[in-house]
C-alpha cells in the first residue's frame, strides 16, 4: 500500500464516492484510501501486527471515520487506535450521519479529534469535505510519525 494522505473508513460506496469526488475538486493531489469497515481498516494499518500494540505499517495524515460500520464499528476502531501508543497521535475525524448526543460524547471521550455530521444536501456535504481537506491537510500542522 502506497503512501496515503487520508484513510476513509466508510461502508457506503455512495458516500465514499461523494467524498473522493468532492475532495478531488479541492485537493487534487491528496491520496485517499477507502476501507469498508473497521476490520479492513486495521488490516490496512497494521497488517499482521497486533493492532493493540503494533506499529502501523502505513501512516495516513488523517483518518476519516464513519461510526455505523459492519463487522467492527467506528467507535471500536477509534478505541483501538487511541489506546495503541503508536497510532494514538494520528488525528481521527468522525464523519457520521448521526447527530445523537451519545455518539458525540462517546467519540470525544475515546479521543476523536473532530466530529462532523454529514449534511443531507449534497452541496453542503461537498463543501464540508472541501473544508475538511483544506483544514487538516493544509492549515493543520501534523506531526510526522
Amino acid at each position: 500500500m502506497a503512501e496515503t494522505d487520508i484513510l476513509l473508513v466508510e461502508d457506503s460506496e455512495d458516500d465514499a464516492s461523494f467524498f473522493t469526488h468532492a475532495l478531488a475538486a479541492a485537493q487534487p493531489s491528496a491520496q485517499t484510501t477507502v476501507a469498508r469497515d473497521g476490520v479492513e481498516a486495521l488490516l490496512l494499518l497494521f497488517g499482521a501486527e497486533n493492532p493493540e500494540r503494533g506499529v502501523p505499517t502505513i501512516c495516513p495524515r488523517i483518518i476519516v471515520l464513519d461510526l455505523k460500520l459492519p463487522r467492527m464499528n467506528g467507535l471500536e476502531l477509534l478505541r483501538l487506535l487511541k489506546t495503541n501508543p503508536h497510532s494514538r497521535s494520528i488525528p481521527v475525524v468522525i464523519l457520521s450521519s448521526s447527530k445523537e448526543k451519545r455518539d458525540l460524547v462517546e467519540s470525544y471521550q475515546l479521543g476523536a479529534n473532530s466530529y462532523l455530521a454529514k449534511p443531507m444536501d449534497f452541496d453542503e456535504f461537498a463543501g464540508l469535505v472541501r473544508t475538511l481537506g483544506r483544514y487538516w491537510l493544509e492549515c493543520n500542522l501534523l506531526q510526522k510519525i
Binding site: 455512495d14 458516500d15 445523537e100 443531507m120 444536501d121 449534497f122 452541496d123
Partner: protein, 663 residues
C-alpha cells in the same frame, strides 16, 4: 352499853308511841314489860348497821349507836353532847332546820336522801328518817333519827342511768330501734327510735301495741313475720331477718332488718320477746342500684362482639363474658385463675406471659396481638387490650380486658399485601417491558438516523452530480426534475429529523426545576429574530409567573410556538405576538397569540397530530411535527394545550404545565 344506859336514863317513845309500850295500854302500866321492851330495843339499836341517833330540839346529840360510829367514824363519846351539824355538809346545813321544824309540828321525815360528812371528810349518800321523841306527857322533846349509808345503791343507780343513757345514745347513733314484748302481760314498749322508724309520734310511756305494728307491716311479709314470732316464743333462740313496712306518716315503704331474741324468767319460761329494728332501705336501694349497674355491665359485656374479662390486681381472671365461653368452648371451672393459658398457642404464650406480668407489675395498660384457640381447635388472631381500674391512690382494683377477633382483618391485610406484591411484580414486569420497548425505539431511531439518511443523501448527491455533469444537453424540464429529486430528498431528510425529534420527546426524561418563562421567551424570540430579521414583528411579553418545568423542553415549546407565530404572521405589517398568562381555577394558563393567518376551528382537533398540516408547504413551509412535539412536552409535564383561531385573524395557543406554579 352506852345507848342502853341512856335509854334507861330517859325513857323515850319512837314514832309517837312509847317504845315497847302496848298500844292498848297507853301510859305504860306494866313496868316489867316496859323494862323488857327497853332491853330488846337497846339490843336492836346496839346491833343495827344503821346509824340510830337521838338529839334534842337544838340538834344536840343525846344518843349515838355503834352503827353510827361505823358509818360516820365518830365514837359516841365524841358525838354525844355535840351538835349534829358537823355531819351535814356546809351547803346542806339548811336541811336540819327544815327537819326540826317538821318534827316540831309532830311530823315525820321519811327516807330523805341526802349527803352527809364522815369523820375522815368523805361525803356519803345517806337516807335519813327522822321521828319526834315525846315525853310521857306527849310533848315533843327530841328527834330520833335513823341514817342509812346508801352510797352503793346510789352508785348502782347512777351506773344504771349511765348505761341507759349510753344505750339511748347508741341506738340514736346507729338508728337501731329497740322493742320489748312481755308475753305474759302483753305489754309492748318501743324506744324513741322505734317510733321514728315507723313514722309515729312516741307515746308518753313508750307503750305500743302488737296491733299497731302488725298494721304497718306489708301484708306480703306479715305471714312470715308472725310465724317467726310464734316460733321464737315457742322455741326461743335468736334470728336475724328482713321485712318491709309502710310508714305511718307518709306511707313510704321501708326495708327493715330485725333481730329477734327471747328472755326467760326465773322459771325458765319465755317471758320477754326483745328485738331491734333497723331501717336499711337506703342500703337496699344502693344494693339494687349496684345490682342493676352490674346487670347493665354484664348485658353490655355479653352484647359486644369482643371476648371480655375481668382480672384481680394479681392477675387471676375472675369473670369472662359469654362470648369468651362461646368462642373457646371452655367452662367456668376450666377458666378459673390462670386457666386461660390453655387456649393460648404454647409458642406465643411465653411472650404473652411476659407482657402480662410486666403490665401487672407496672400497672400500665397493655395491647398485644396473639392467637386464641376456638372450640373448633383452630387458632384465630385477637387484638387484646387491657386497662387497669385504679383507686384514688393509684392502686389497681381490677383489670378489664377485651380480645377483638382481627383474623379477618389480618387476612384482608395479608391479601392487600399479597396484591401489592403481585402488583409490584406486574409493575416491574411492565416497566421492564416498557424499558425494553423504549430501548427498541431508541435503537430504531438510531438506525433511522443512520440508514435512512444515507440513501437520501445518495439520491440528492447523484442528482446534483448529474445536474452539473450534464448541464449542457439537459432540457429545462429535465433540469427541473433533477432539482425536484434533490429538493424532495432534502425534504425527506427534514421529515426524518422531525420524526426523530418527536420520538425523542417520548423517552427523554423530564428534569423539572424552577423556571422563569418570561426569560425563556425573551431569549427564544431573540434567536428567532436573528434568523429572520427583515420581517416586522412586535412582541409583548407579560410578567409570566415562574413555574416548575424542564427548562430545555419548555424552551422547545416556546421555540415552536413563537416560530409558528412568526411564520404564520408573515405578510402582516406589523406582525404582533403576545405572550401572556391568566389564572384559571387553580391553574396558570400561558398563551401565545399572533395576528397571522389563523385557521378554521373545524380542523383544531387535527392540529397536534404528527405530520398533519393545515397549510400547504407552498404557503407555509414545515414538517408537521412542531405542534406534535409541543403537545407531547406539555403532556409530559402533566399539562394541557389547546388552540383558538379564526381564518385570517390569527391564532392563540393556550397551555398549562400542571403541578406547582408560583402564582
Amino acid at each position: 352499853m352506852a345507848v342502853a344506859k341512856k335509854l334507861k336514863r330517859a325513857p323515850v317513845s319512837v314514832n309517837g308511841r312509847a317504845v315497847g309500850g302496848d298500844a292498848s295500854q297507853p301510859g305504860g302500866k306494866a313496868p316489867f314489860l316496859d323494862e323488857l321492851a327497853a332491853v330488846r330495843l337497846a339490843a336492836i339499836v346496839e346491833s343495827s348497821n344503821e346509824a340510830i341517833i337521838s338529839k334534842d330540839l337544838k340538834s344536840i346529840i343525846t344518843t349515838w349507836n355503834p352503827g353510827a360510829e361505823k358509818i360516820f367514824g365518830y365514837s359516841a363519846d365524841e358525838m354525844v353532847g355535840t351538835s349534829v351539824m358537823r355531819l351535814i355538809p356546809a351547803d346542806r346545813q339548811g336541811e336540819e332546820a327544815d327537819i326540826l321544824s317538821k318534827i316540831k309540828r309532830g311530823e315525820k321525815v321519811d327516807h330523805f336522801e341526802t349527803l352527809r360528812l364522815t369523820k375522815d371528810g368523805r361525803l356519803i349518800d345517806s337516807s335519813v328518817t327522822a321521828s319526834p321523841i315525846k315525853d310521857a306527857t306527849g310533848r315533843i322533846v327530841g328527834v330520833s333519827s335513823i341514817a342509812r349509808d346508801i352510797t352503793e345503791r346510789k352508785q348502782a343507780e347512777r351506773a344504771l342511768i349511765d348505761s341507759k343513757e349510753r344505750m339511748r345514745l347508741a341506738t340514736e347513733a346507729t338508728r337501731v330501734g329497740i322493742w320489748e314484748w312481755n308475753v305474759l302481760t302483753n305489754l309492748v314498749t318501743w324506744d324513741a327510735q322505734m317510733f321514728e322508724i315507723y313514722g309515729m309520734v312516741p307515746t308518753q310511756d313508750g307503750l305500743a301495741t302488737y296491733i299497731t305494728w302488725r298494721n304497718l307491716v306489708l301484708p306480703e311479709d306479715l305471714t312470715q313475720e308472725e310465724a317467726l314470732l310464734q316460733e321464737t316464743i315457742l322455741w326461743g333462740g335468736q334470728n336475724v331477718h328482713e321485712f318491709r313496712i309502710q310508714r305511718a306518716d307518709n306511707q313510704e315503704c321501708r326495708h327493715i332488718q330485725a333481730v329477734l331474741t327471747t328472755r326467760k324468767n326465773a322459771t325458765g319460761q319465755v317471758e320477754w320477746l326483745v328485738g331491734t329494728n333497723l331501717d336499711i332501705t337506703e342500703r337496699k336501694q344502693a344494693e339494687a342500684a349496684l345490682r342493676a349497674s352490674e346487670e347493665r355491665f354484664r348485658t353490655m359485656a355479653n352484647c359486644i362482639p369482643q371476648l371480655a374479662w375481668i382480672a384481680l390486681p394479681a392477675g387471676d381472671i375472675v369473670w369472662y363474658n359469654e362470648r369468651w365461653f362461646e368462642y373457646t368452648g371452655t367452662t367456668v371451672e376450666q377458666m378459673q385463675g390462670w386457666g386461660w393459658q390453655s387456649v393460648h398457642d404454647p409458642k406465643v404464650l411465653p411472650q404473652v406471659m411476659a407482657n402480662w406480668k410486666a403490665a401487672l407489675e407496672t400497672g400500665r395498660p397493655f395491647e398485644m396481638e396473639f392467637p386464641l384457640r376456638g372450640r373448633d381447635g383452630q387458632f384465630r388472631t385477637f387484638l387484646t387490650r387491657i386497662q387497669p381500674l385504679k383507686n384514688a391512690e393509684g392502686q389497681v382494683l381490677n383489670w378489664f380486658g377485651t380480645n377483638t377477633d382481627v383474623e379477618a382483618l389480618k387476612a384482608a391485610e395479608q391479601k392487600v399485601q399479597n396484591l401489592n406484591i403481585e402488583l409490584e411484580q406486574r409493575v416491574a414486569v411492565r416497566t421492564a417491558e416498557l424499558k425494553k420497548a423504549n430501548e427498541e425505539l431508541e435503537a430504531f431511531s438510531y438506525s433511522i438516523s443512520h440508514d435512512l439518511r444515507a440513501p437520501l443523501r445518495a439520491m440528492g448527491g447523484f442528482a446534483r452530480m448529474l445536474e452539473s455533469q450534464l448541464a449542457g444537453p439537459l432540457t429545462p424540464e429535465a433540469q427541473h426534475s433533477l432539482q425536484r429529486i434533490r429538493e424532495n430528498a432534502t425534504k425527506m431528510g427534514q421529515l426524518i429529523d422531525g420524526l426523530l425529534d418527536f420520538s425523542a420527546m417520548n423517552w427523554q426524561p423530564v428534569a423539572k426545576k424552577k423556571v422563569e418563562p418570561a426569560d425563556l421567551v425573551r431569549a427564544v424570540f431573540a434567536e428567532i429574530r436573528a434568523e429572520e430579521a427583515q420581517q416586522p414583528v412586535e412582541i409583548e411579553i407579560a410578567q409570566l409567573p415562574p413555574c416548575e418545568a424542564d427548562p430545555k423542553l419548555l424552551k422547545q415549546v416556546f421555540v415552536n410556538l413563537l416560530s409558528n407565530a412568526v411564520k404564520y404572521s408573515r405578510g402582516r405589517n406589523p406582525a404582533v405576538i403576545k405572550v401572556g398568562w391568566r389564572q384559571e381555577k387553580n391553574e396558570c394558563v400561558y398563551f401565545v397569540q399572533d395576528n397571522g393567518a389563523g385557521f378554521s376551528m373545524e380542523y383544531a382537533g387535527k392540529l397536534f397530530h404528527v405530520f398533519h398540516r393545515l397549510h400547504s408547504a407552498e404557503q407555509f413551509e414545515g414538517t408537521g411535527v412542531g405542534l406534535a412535539i409541543v403537545q407531547r412536552i406539555v403532556q409530559r409535564h402533566g399539562g394541557r394545550i389547546w388552540a383558538e383561531a379564526e381564518v385570517g385573524r390569527g391564532a392563540t395557543f393556550h397551555f398549562t404545565l400542571g403541578g406547582t406554579h408560583y402564582g
